[in-house]
């Protein structure tokens, strides 16, 4: 019989204290009609802190205990015994649990087991009879049926890891056998599954911002172990090891960057609005063309080669306010993961990277929320259980009131009539269907509207909805099914002239479904396989007359519809403890019925790891990718007017490969991870456009486009410290990215068919993101960014033509603007940890661009007809101080 053991670690201290009844008067000392955990919490608060309690989940009984203080303990224990609990006393401490839940003795036959516990381990002290403070960590948990125990071999141990306070699943927690032989990371549902040797062992759990946990196990056979972990509240030293550094040495995948919400909130950003995408841009290998740009370039790839997923749905425009803010509300985000090299076979459709943004599950214990006020936006979020411990919700919303800033502009400014607004909303529902099935529903909506005059209005919106069903068939098999709908619509209204007034709309709508299975085969193989399908429905342009007097000839380009599907299979093979391989195959297909174009083929994903020790590893990887949807843009920044088009008979899909190798070392008592990764990458059929191309409302767009190839290479060095008073990362990247037109079009060929620098080719790049905690309430964050100036195309020659001086442009991207340097600081005041306080206020004071450096965004020339003037444009040319308030309740 498999036995499920549920650990409740110090949970009561956090929650139950708030549930104390108000009528605790000295003369009638006691509690009325409270659950057992609240009763114990009362004892802990009023009589002795040294009481340890394992609540029976089935115990819904209400306890009323009233007695003078000196007799209270006795009465309370009597009541608990009536409720079926046993009370033990040991070394001045009390232990309350059901019979069988707590075993303060060693299991029978323990010393006869073949694998003795190593005496060096602290937790083994109990077995040696030393007097130790007994916590749940040094209880021994038996896994599997002792009656059918195997004497040797391995068993599969699985379970969920959840947050002790909120009940949310904890993602990315490292679960490992402390002998170093087995390692797993919890997935998006907090689920882990790993193979452990039969017999006694110690299982470690560690995660960012969580207190490390070590559990003594006695494994008889396959079984489940659910764990709750406590958020690290104020312990700033003494953490042992972090999941990131563990996983770095255990998994063969490389080029994966994960940023937790804690770090996202600490990084100072412009106007103080915490922003997940801006933090992604502080990672090595990620560049952007300039400030106020949410489009990013990963390892020399273009902005449309990044797949941005939010809970499985694709976000085509992740920007608010032309890129000043990203469309993700940090109140509901759990973490952000960027795959820039080893992209799992289950993902595809973009060449350069996958950015996965995951939102949190709501608190399963109680309703809570937060309210944030910033210079540009205000935010509200609420979360909690709909059905306690079973159904939760999380709801977040943001809106802006940036117009007050615009109203500060002088009335004679030509932008005084300008307006910008946005809203976004997130909803997440999660429902447990028994122990093995969970259903999640996600909804996302964002809309932006801006105008620079009363005549022209730009709008866009994202709508995403998805359902996810996660099912665990057995200890070794699980399934995730996701289906949803993504929609991105963009429109312009121009009323400048009533006779030419128009609306122009474009849209990307897609329905998707994905089925993924994970299976453990034997001890060494973990398989992931499945299929995904995507149905595109694009409106490349609808141009319509606006108003009765408009002469505009309404016109709709034919909708672009296509199917994209893929089958994928990958295997992570732990060849030996030190050596593991990951091999994946994704077979993608694209079919566009309107012109009968079909594309497809295999995509390979390989990576391997060899660990010289627990702290030193090397990795190498190779992968190929295909991309069937392209962003058509003639600006270097992601512009709101960019439209997406599908591959067709005339527009071939982009394809590319990347080879990478890395060296990883963890130093300074396992606190600092050093990594060095090098890569070389080629992409074919990347789309550029001809000079003077008409990209908007063009039925024959393919004639305006040209194909280029891209080569990129670089080295990324990073030192990352996730724990301690000082945490953050320092990175240096040296990289290049160049393009070359693939076809010879004579004198029209860009740069005569020679390689030229991509607009985001910034060879040297130094980034520092650090947070120093003075105390658990006060911390200082620093963000430093240095990069070589980006290439721009500037004129070389001038001539008089058409009554004015005109410019001759030469080599594309042949000149570099001055280097970029920016330093941001933020001082963060966290709320005090008073558990009884109803609201917690955090404050952030910061300054963006502390040195006030006028960083150029572009260098350009204009001609007023008579004279040519050189200009340098800075987006944020001065210090921008800010203050941000966040109220949790």
């Amino acid at each position: 019989m498999k036995k499920r053991i549920c650990l409740m670690l110090l949970l009561a201290a956090l929650c139950a204290a708030l549930q104390l009844p108000a009528q605790t008067l000295p003369e009638s000392f006691g509690v009325s009609k409270v659950e057992s955990d609240a009763l114990v919490a009362f004892i802990r608060a009023e009589i002795t802190p040294e009481i340890y309690f394992v609540k029976d989940p089935a115990d819904k009984r209400n306890y009323t205990v009233r007695a003078p203080r000196e007799q209270f303990l006795e009465k309370a224990f009597a009541a608990l015994r009536e409720g079926g609990y046993q009370v033990w006393q040991y070394d001045g401490k009390y232990f309350v649990a059901r019979e069988g839940d707590l075993r303060p003795v060693l299991p029978a036959g323990y010393f006869a087991r073949q694998e003795p516990v190593k005496p060096a381990d602290d937790s083994s002290a109990l077995y040696q009879g030393r007097s130790v403070t007994m916590t749940f960590q040094n209880k021994i948990y038996e896994i599997g049926d002792p009656e059918r125990a195997r004497r040797s071999g391995r068993a599969s141990v699985r379970g969920y890891v959840r947050d002790a306070g909120t009940g949310e699943p904890l993602t990315g927690v490292s679960v490992y056998d402390t002998t170093g032989r087995s390692f797993a990371t919890t997935d998006a549902y907090g689920y882990y599954n790993l193979s452990l040797p039969v017999g006694a062992g110690v299982l470690g759990f560690s995660g960012y911002g969580l207190e490390d946990l070590r559990l003594d196990l006695l494994v008889h056979g396959d079984g489940a172990l659910d764990v709750v972990m406590k958020e690290k509240v104020f312990s700033l030293k003494g953490a042992v090891i972090t999941s990131e550094s563990m996983s770095q040495h255990r998994t063969p995948q490389m080029g994966i960057e994960k940023v937790r919400i804690n770090m996202i909130k600490n990084v100072p950003v412009v106007f103080g609005e915490a922003d997940a995408l801006k933090v992604v841009m502080t990672l090595p290998g990620v560049k952007s063309v300039g400030e106020a740009s949410s489009g990013f370039n990963v390892r020399g790839g273009s902005t449309d080669q990044n797949l941005i997923l939010f809970n499985g749905g694709t976000i085509y425009n992740p920007n608010h306010m032309f890129g000043i803010l990203s469309a993700f509300n940090t109140d509901v985000i759990n973490d952000v993961e960027l795959y820039k090299s080893s992209i799992p076979a289950s993902y595809g459709g973009r060449i350069s990277s996958v950015l996965e943004v995951r939102s949190r599950d709501g608190n399963s214990k109680k309703v809570q929320g937060s309210l944030g006020l910033g210079l540009l936006t205000s935010r509200l979020h609420l979360e909690g259980p709909l059905v306690k411990d079973r159904t939760t919700f999380i709801l977040g919303g943001r809106t802006t009131y940036s117009n007050w800033l615009l109203n500060l502009l002088p009335p004679n400014s030509s932008y005084a009539g300008g307006k910008a607004s946005f809203q976004d909303a997130n909803l997440g529902l999660s429902h447990k269907l028994g122990e093995r099935n969970t259903i999640h529903a996600y909804g996302y909506f964002s809309r932006d509207k801006f105008s620079f005059s009363n005549d022209t209005t730009f709008r866009y919106r994202n709508i995403n909805g998805s359902l996810k069903w996660h099912s665990i068939f057995s200890d070794r098999h699980s399934m995730t099914f996701t289906a949803g709908y993504d929609s991105y619509h963009y429109g312009i209204e121009d009323r400048f002239n009533a006779y030419t007034a128009y609306t122009l709309n474009t849209a990307v709508d897609q329905a998707f479904a994905k089925l993924e299975f994970k299976s453990s085969v034997g001890r060494a193989h973990t398989l992931s396989y499945g299929a995904d399908a995507l149905r595109y429905d694009l409106n490349p342009g609808s141009y319509h007359a606006l108003g009765d007097s408009s002469l505009v000839a309404s016109r709709d380009l034919s909708r672009e519809r296509a199917l994209e599907g893929a089958l994928f299979l990958s295997d992570t093979w732990r060849v030996t403890d030190a050596f593991s391989l990951d091999a994946g195959l994704r077979w993608s297909l694209f079919y566009r019925p309107s012109d009968g174009s079909r594309y497809g083929g295999p995509e390979y994903r390989f990576s391997g790891k060899y660990s010289f020790s627990d702290v030193t590893s090397v990795k190498a990887g190779f992968n190929t990718m295909r991309q069937y949807i392209h962003m058509i843009s003639n600006s270097i920044n992601v512009s709101p007017t960019d439209s997406w088009r599908l591959s067709s008979a005339k527009i071939r899909p982009q394809s590319g490969w990347q080879a990478a190798a890395g060296f990883y070392q963890t130093v300074y008592n396992n606190t600092v991870d050093l990594s060095l990764e090098a890569y070389y990458k080629r992409v074919l059929h990347y789309i550029d456009y001809k000079s003077g191309a008409v990209l908007v409302m063009n039925e024959n767009l393919a004639d305006q486009l040209i194909e280029t190839e891209n080569r990129a290479w670089g080295v990324e060095l990073m030192a990352r410290k996730n724990i301690g008073k000082l945490n953050g990362w320092v990175s240096y990247t040296w990289s290049r990215s160049q393009l070359r037109e693939m076809e010879d079009r004579g004198t029209e060929t860009i740069n005569g068919g020679r390689w030229y620098n991509a607009a985001y080719d910034k060879p040297h790049d130094v980034k520092v993101v650090a947070n120093y905690k003075f105390t658990h309430r006060y911390s200082l964050s620093v963000n430093l960014d240095y990069a070589t100036g980006r290439p721009v195309t500037i004129p070389v020659s001038k001539y008089v033509y058409g009554n004015g001086v005109r410019l001759v442009y030469s080599e594309r991207n042949g000149y570099r603007i001055p280097d970029y340097f920016r330093l941001d600081l933020a001082f963060i005041v966290e709320p005090g940890h008073y558990l009884r306080q109803l609201t917690h206020l955090s404050l952030t004071f910061g300054c963006y661009n502390v040195t006030g450096r006028k960083n150029p965004y572009s260098i350009y020339y204009t001609s007023d007809g008579n004279k040519v003037h050189g200009h340098m444009m800075s987006v944020f040319a001065t210090q921008i101080p800010y203050i941000n308030l966040n109220l949790k309740f």
Binding site: F452, S691, V796, K798, Y799, L807, Y815, Y860, Y861, M873
Partner: protein, 385 residues
């Protein structure tokens, strides 16, 4: 451009700092590209010029003309040679033929440039040319309406502007040095004397070609009709419309390729550097060098007819302009200090009873300091002189 300024202004709200700065990059420019300018205008006398482009960073050589022999060839073999100054008379040319331009560069270059053969684009008549004030009352717009019965197409305009403007103050006297002539006699000493009848430095005229590229297309419309199309506009502080403004507008019909060329030229020189600006790129025109077909030749020779219209805008009618000149005067007694004031570019304006002459900065009383002249066009609408 609009977008970036908007964002910059957001930061301006926090601190008064500008976001666009003058900048002179340090790099090697390049000159020497041949630019050939001029359209083949059927029924008109048209002018062709050839120039060399100059290094962008060279402030001296703005305009380097090259001597060329031009001729226009018609598809029936007729040749229209250019006279002096590259002027070709096409008044009798047949609008139903195709035409091309041939430019032969004389020694030492010895190169021949030809434009591609093109049919004549017939320009529509201008229905109306009129002014309006925008809804925000911040811009005075010059608008055109035009239409044709054929398929939709492309338009370009050139505008020759003439405007009458005034000095801030009317000075009825002026300063004359000893020895200068006044009313037929030589002055024996420096003196402030009254202007003769009709003389003044108050009314001036100035004229110029508009340098911006004025384009429109009707290809997205249901008919070839532009209604109330705004060509350009003026701010309230633009001196051109402070009194009387005149524009002589010429309208050309462009071919599709010519429109793309001009549009790209316009983008490259007027719409660059912003957050969402298109990347500048060079678009070849329709001229080829016969000796070296790979040579980049600047310019596009469009073949069309042209139509014209004109418009006067009187500020007394529009009541739009808020232009105010410099206003600062100082009354000082003569003769003790006047040489000093004269040297400081002050001029006497009028006499203040009992105090002396009011002296004002030269630009307040002499409109010629702003580049205009006293050459009143013979066709000017009023009697100012």
């Amino acid at each position: 451009m609009k977008v970036f300024c908007y964002i910059c202004l957001l930061s301006l709200a926090f601190a008064t700092a500008s976001c666009v700065y003058d900048f002179q990059p340090d790099y090697q420019g390049q000159g020497g590209y041949v630019a050939i300018e001029g359209d083949i205008l059927i029924g008109e006398s048209c002018t062709f010029t050839a120039r060399l482009s100059t290094d962008l960073l060279d402030p001296e050589n703005e305009d380097v003309p090259v001597v060329c022999r031009f001729r226009v060839e018609a598809s029936d073999g007729t040749v229209f040679p250019a006279g002096s100054g590259g002027r070709v008379d096409l008044t009798g040319a047949d609008p139903f033929l195709e035409y091309r331009l041939v430019a032969e560069m004389t020694a030492p270059f010895r190169r021949t440039y030809v434009s591609s053969w093109a049919p004549v684009q017939i320009s529509a008549p201008i229905d109306s040319l009129f002014w309006s004030i925008d809804a925000a009352e911040s811009r005075l717009c010059v608008n055109v309406s035009t239409h044709a019965d054929g398929p939709c197409g492309y338009y370009r305009w050139t505008a020759h502007e003439t405007w009458e403007y005034h000095a801030t103050y009317y000075a009825d006297h002026f300063f004359a040095f000893a020895g200068s002539e006044y009313k037929g006699r030589k002055l024996s000493a420096d003196a402030i004397v009254e202007y003769e009848d009709g003389e003044n430095t108050y009314y001036c005229w100035k004229d110029a070609e508009r340098t911006d590229i004025l384009l429109a297309e009707t290809t997205g419309l249901s008919e070839d009709r532009l209604v109330h199309h705004t060509l350009y506009s003026f701010s309230k502080t633009d001196r051109k419309v402070s009194h009387i403004y005149h524009v002589a507008l010429t309208q050309y019909r462009l071919s599709d390729d010519a429109y793309r060329y001009w549009e790209n030229l316009s983008t490259n020189s007027q719409d660059v550097g912003g957050l969402f600006s298109p990347e500048p790129s060079e678009l070849s025109g329709n001229l080829t060098c016969l000796e070296d077909p790979d040579e980049l030749v600047l310019g596009f020779v469009n073949v069309s007819t042209c139509t014209r219209s004109q418009l006067f805008i009187d500020n007394a009618v529009t009541r739009f302009s808020r232009w105010r000149g410099p206003a600062y005067g100082e009354v000082i007694p003569l003769p003790s200090d006047y040489p000093k004031y004269y040297g400081w570019q002050y001029r006497p304006a009028w006499y203040v009873e009992g105090k002396g002459w009011a002296w004002l900065p030269k630009e307040c009383v002499d409109c010629r300091t702003s580049g205009g002249t006293k050459d009143r066009p013979s066709w000017w609408i009023n009697n100012d002189k």
